[in-house]
Amino acid sequence: MGKTIKDIQAIKEATLQAFGNRIGNDDDRIYIMTCCGTGCTSSGSLKNRERLEELMERDGLQDKVHLVKTGCFGLCAEGPILVVYPGNVMYTNVQPDDINEIWEAHIKNGRVVERLTSENEQDFFSKQMRISLRNCGRIDPENIDEYIAYGGYEALAKVLTEMEPEDVIKLMKDSGLRGRGGGGFPTGVKWDFAAQQQKTEKYVVCNADEGDPGAFMDRSVLEGDPHSVIEAMAIAGYAIGASMGYVYVRAEYPIAVQRLSIAIQQAKEYGILGDNVMGTGFKFDMDIRLGAGAFVCGEETALLTSIEGNRGEPKLKPPFPAVEGLFGKPTIINNVETFSNIPQIILNGAEWFNGIGTEKSKGTKVFALGGKINNTGLVEVPMGTTLREIIYEIGGGIPNGKKFKAAQTGGPSGGCIPAEHLDTPIDYDSLLKLQSMMGSGGMIVMDEDTCMVDIAKFYLEFTVEESCGKCPPCRIGTKRMLEILTKITEGKGTLEDLDDLEYLATNIKRGALCGLGQTAPNPVISTLKYFRDEYEAHVVDKKCPAGVCVSMLRYKINEDLCKKCGICAKNCPAQCISGSKTEGYVIDNEKCLKCGVCMEKCPFKAIMKNA
């Protein structure tokens, strides 16, 4: 039945003992940590596990070798990943066929398979500082004991036995922790508002509706360390006087949902959730609510309306959720990353935390690196790290020797940061100054092949589709902006259209009802600011410099490379390539469908687009 704080302490010691050489103890057992996050699972880590299990059985090594299923290590680009103890050796890009080799060489004979270790590992991890992700890749997220072994639920125990709710709030305020979901509102202040409400029924809600395309840090925390969120939510419940919590998770994250369910179940079995938390008399319970595919539900009032069983449409603020939230009761909403920082802040103190980061942005931030970058994956760095460090040092730079063009942060609510600002230390305020925003931490890198008008259009398409439809500026305004952008990418734009775009953007920003609408024009505003030349190229020269906008593409045969073989003419579905094997060939761009077949089929790479 329910465990007391003492019982939990005993579990910690026993589990640590069993960890053996995972924590550097002298021990002859071998541990194989396999990443089972979404990234590695997608690239086949489960097959590796099956293979390892077979070999263990074949060789009768079940007692000696221990397979541990973990969350994300972060270096998703090189998945599937597995780590072997002793030695903490990381193997990357491990295919089922490689397992035999690792098994024979490393597991059975202690020889590291150098060919499968990563060159980038050192760079990737050295500049990182893992607070939120501390347990990801380190523990089995489906085993509560492993969480406890690394100090899990100690913060909750400390709060419940040594601190008053107002002490917790003061600590949170002192730590300087700001919400990691986008806005960056001080967490302690939010909690204080809710705590001050004289209501018996209050709620703690975790926003795990990570909707920014290209952001997956919340998912990774839930997959790799779900208990840290449960612990933090219970702490929040104690601080504000709530006894019920909901986690609102995207249904597109099946693994995260499953791991979180298991974790909640285990916490209930241990009496860490329930009517008498760890025997202290504090009551706190939790449930999961699945999102259903609506980006706007990441907006807090929309999220609450969705939990209530409605269309996830935002409401006016004030009243703020801390005053009138879920089911009309005071509610605090924090996102996964915010919560996952909290147990560490409680244990290590406010000063430890606010010693990290910049003046107004404390602690670390997790970024999901994606796009045209070598080390795609999840990184956690102190606030104030520069874009250059993240992209070139941790991220390993741009693939194929291409030139960096922009980094997009903040998803559809954010903006594109150009090369001239690569040395800006990243925090909430500096990003705002650059017409972008932190958002949840998606960071998409773009190179010279990316068309910035097309990217702005991509984001607008997203917002138009995801707008809830409640207020006219967002419902109609973003649509009109998209129409203008489409016109520009089709080569029909005018300079007047650029003014119209700016004018619309300003008014939508000012007048939309919720955060989604107010930030929807950001990708356009920032690209217009930093890449106006690209817009003008589309409008004035009718050219897409990156060669992305199809209707402006021009195909041309390079006479120097052309061997007059006629393959292009034979394959052209529009029959717009004319000529002969003696005279050579020309493409009639008026009739051309821009399908690219000629370019694909040319054996001599003689066909160029937008030359």
């Binding site: 006016l316 995801e466 419902r475 129409e483």
Partner: protein
Amino acid sequence: MKNKKRVQLTIDGMDVNVPEDYTILQAAKEVNIKIPTLCYLKDICEIGACRMCLVEVEGAKGWQASCVQKVAEGMVVRTHTPDILNFRKKNLELILSNHPAMCQSCNRGSTGCELKTLANNMDTEFANYAKNQEVITANQVLEVDEGISIYRDPNRCILCRRCISVCHNIQTVGAIDVINRGFNTVVGTTFNRPIDESKCVNCGQCINVCPTGALQEHQSLDEFWALMKTGKHLVVQTAPAVRAALGEEFDMPIGTDVTGKMVTALRMLGFHKVFDTDMAADLTIMEEGTELIHRIQNGGPLPLITSCSPGWIKFCEHFYHDMLENVSSCKSPHEMMGAMVKSYYAEKSGIDPADIAVISIMPCTAKKYEAQREELAATGYQDVDMVLTTRELARMIKAFGIDFPALPDGEFDNPLGISTGAATIFGATGGVMEAALRTVADVLTGQSSDSIDYTQVRGNEEGIKEVTLEIAGLTIKAAAAHGLGNARKLMERIKAGEHFDFIEVMACPGGCVNGGGQPQQPSSVRNWMNLAEERAKALYRSDQESFVRKSHKNPAVKELYKTYLGEPGSEKAHHLLHTHYIKR
């Protein structure tokens, strides 16, 4: 109420002192500033969605929706900075860019379309987006839904959501809701099916709150012109509430009783006989009163629930069909009138009922649906051939070029035009009950009581009005509910075991005076006055001034029973004046 705390604030540099529960919008009105609104409708739609009423509040993060934002001590508000004006104009232009330019042919275009008014006031360029034709992918044309009572044109909808709010929150019907999202958002029915396949009760409250022409009654005027050509004997009847509101369509003050002018106009329109539904209301009291006394004396089923409101009847058929036996079997008054016209009047005047067309002028859209119910055809012909709303009548008068306010008063035709004050108040909530009580009290005590005014059941402040009366040693517990949400509450109480003897339900808030067929008043009027109450005043005034104020004293009614129907509740009365209901 009176000692509400007041706060001091500044609006556009002017000091304002208002109660603390005022919104900025209300406070601005105090200093003669009308902040433009579009989605806001007091007590009905307060969601701040249309963004027209945004104002700048010093120190607040972003502009605030003044329709819902409450005032605060020391608040500094600016309602029309250049940025705000610019935004409002742009916002309105965006709305217009997705709205068909058909004002000339839109019923709302000439009579107070709120969108058009705002567009005119704000100097918007309707064509600002249209000029960029190639930019705007032709706005998708949505299908128009023509129901028997309700006409919906989603193209003209601006998604203010007032209709949804009234349908869900006030009427608790939920026939329509917001569908899809983003630019494809529409107000619609489930699976976009015709409204007539939904649980819509046709109350038409959605029409009354619609700021544009997106929601209207089913247009029957063309059918009417066709009917005129057939050469049939045209008998028209008008419901009590019509006379209290028709004048509004001709810019007469709200609450003007225009009975006489209306009768004159109807004659000018070519109707052969102008009868008064009030007379049938008296008849209803005779039948329903008798039914009530019978049920009280014979053990139920109680409560007896009134059946005058066809919106309520359909509501009951959908949501409370287990209580249908409590509903009075009396037809609604205009159906009774129809049946009497095609039987009694036809016989008396020697006209074949096949050659008679009964047209009802009603404050109601649900009556359009009611009129075509198969069971309402006592003589083998539909009791009522056509229902026109107050608005449609006004349109006819305008089409004929009649100078309505200048008309002399006319008189209803006999014998079906004679009525009492009791019948007149049928048009307001509590009126049917009051009329019934006046008669029941006399019948039970066997004497003519002097207490005529049952003021406890009047007014629309309370959604459910209750009264307990001691009459001839009997205790009668009665209640009147108006608005279907209130009716639902009352039904739930009854289902939970609470006892009532007599219940009056009117589907529309405030009763028929606020019916779905009445003149549409824009939010600029509705936000600042109690429309239903002003109109009801005209009816109560008329009752007060009536010579006869009890239905059973109506000489025409007495004559009718004596020479034609026999007793109230007789077999013949039952055949002509009663009906049955269908579980849906």
